[in-house]
Amino acid sequence: MSKRIDVKNLDIFYGAFHAVKSVSMTIEPRSVTAFIGPSGCGKSTVLRTLNRMHEVIPGAYVTGEVLMDEKNLYAKDTDPVDVRRQVGMVFQRPNPFPTMSIRENVLAGVRLNSSKLSKSASDELVEQSLQGANLWSEVKDRLDRPGSGLSGGQQQRLCIARAIAVQPEVILMDEPCSALDPISTLAIEDLINELKSEYTVVIVTHNMQQAARVSDRTGFFNLEATGMPGELVEMDETAKIFSNPSKPATEDYISGRFG
């Protein structure tokens, strides 16, 4: 349940605005890939093209290819709905459905994919997904309470449980810890470490220490000036990026000279 992603010459546009310029990269299965870079450099935008969520904004389009195990996500006959069923996403702020209980939240994606699920099968799936998100022991006695009643960190883990319940190939995380306190952040980082044994994980983060802690490979994005398109400066083993990057811009950014 994890796939390799090859991005080839990807250019991203919002109407006339060229947001990201010619990105090519390979994302390895069963590993964590981190995107770092200053605000506005297009790292979240690139992340959102991996499950075609950027199309939610009217006028957005891309040129180039995103291949998931050789299958182009932007082929003419590819349905974005199918793409998103294989590529799960966790957002910057926890967003459990407020009108649903914890249990219903976990099952939300499964209910979309296959309408009928027996009571015992869904109980099992709820437990398995919440276990997978390290949340089961904290919520097992209140599965019918609203998901919005949990703490921020628990809500974010609930969102991860919801994403893994549909058994995706890839999990995208867009700054998943930026709204959380350090303890909750630690819980999510531990979870990311466990998730990579089964899934391809891609995470966008503003926190360089976090990238260093959780990721195997890191991509550094930058933009030359405001209004210019963002681009991928370099991508390499995380250890190499943080100790001996090949580009001076990366060196400047990670050593804190800008950004």
């Binding site: 499950n51 998103r84 996403m89 459905f97 407020p98 649903m100 939300a108 994919n113 009643g149």
Partner: protein, 311 residues
């Protein structure tokens, strides 16, 4: 610990004249609404009292107030509920189209037209219903009688179209704008975060609307529907013009039945003495029904408040 008297000094914040004036004005406004409501209730009750002490034979119909008023209440409720049942799905559909399907420019234009519909006076709707709409409905009534005539609601068909059902449909058109406007506002407020959560799980547009938009907007839609129901219950002019009133009947597609407001409006000018008290007592009953509808709506909205997304 030198200034032990400080807490007392701090306990009285400085009173600024602006705050006092504005605070007083808003408090007075809040209390005036209670006074007005109490005034109306006192008027209705005191004027209606003679009816309850009167000899049943003296009441219109000759069998007491209850048997006089219940057909009116029945007509009012049926007309309003049919109007609500017809208008709500259409209004929610329009609101979803405007908020989630239409391109911004088209959505704004449609929203504007709907608001214009709200600006049409009820007497105009009444004349339109009488002159244009009612005759157009006659073939439908005949069809209903032929195919569903075994139901008591469609026993015989009116040849003028001036029926309770026609009045209900016109009421539906009249309450459409308010339900649409309220629904559109709540649908537009659905947090993008929740919509994206649904889409990222692989929801189609309709599934996204079902998982994120409709549950979030439900209390608002119920609220809008109740506002519409309130308007339909009290609507006088359109019903008075369209409906050819008569005694109680289950049949909705022929003349007969009437509603509380129409009964009051048509008889009030010539009423005096006990007859006047009867009409005012009927008004009191309508007042009670509207109050109950609003309290009921509140209860529905509050029932699952912790799941509402407001927290």
């Amino acid at each position: 610990m030198t200034a032990t008297s400080a807490p007392e000094a701090q306990a009285r914040p400085k009173r600024r004249p602006g705050d006092i004036v504005f605070g007083g004005l808003s408090t007075a406004s809040a209390f005036s609404i209670l006074l007005i409501l109490a005034g109306v209730a006192i008027f209705l009750i005191s004027e209606a009292v003679p009816v309850f002490g009167a000899d049943p034979a003296e009441i219109t119909g000759g069998e007491g107030f209850l048997s006089y008023v219940w057909p009116l209440v029945f007509g009012t409720l049926v007309a309003s509920l049919v109007a609500m049942a017809v208008a709500t799905p259409v209004a929610v559909g329009i609101a979803l189209f405007v908020s989630h399907y239409a391109p911004t420019r088209v959505g704004t234009a449609v929203g504007f037209v709907i608001d214009l519909l709200a600006a049409v006076p009820s007497v105009v709707f009444g004349m339109w219903g009488f002159q244009v709409f009612a005759p157009k409905l006659v073939p439908l009534f005949i069809w209903l009688q032929e195919h569903l005539g075994f139901l008591p609601f469609f026993e015989s068909a009116s040849r003028t179209g001036r029926t309770l059902f026609t009045a209900s449909l016109v009421l539906a058109v009249m309450i459409l704008p308010i339900i649409t406007a309220v629904s559109r506002e709540v649908f537009l407020q659905t947090p993008t975060l929740h919509e994206e959560a649904a889409l990222a799980l692989g929801a189609t547009k309709w599934e996204m609307i079902r998982t994120a938009v409709l549950p979030f907007g439900k209390p608002g839609v119920i609220g809008g529907t109740m506002l519409g129901l309130g308007r339909a219950l009290g609507e006088t002019m359109a019903v008075a013009i369209i409906l050819s009133p008569g005694v109680f009947t289950w049949n909705l597609i022929d003349s007969g039945n009437t509603t509380v407001p129409a009964e009051i409006a048509l008889n009030f000018p010539e009423a005096a003495g006990l007859r006047l008290s009867e009409l005012i007592a009927a008004g009191l009953v309508l007042f009670g029904i509207t109050l109950a509808v609003n309290l009921g709506a509140r209860a529905i909205v509050n029932r699952r408040a912790e799941f509402s997304g407001a927290n």
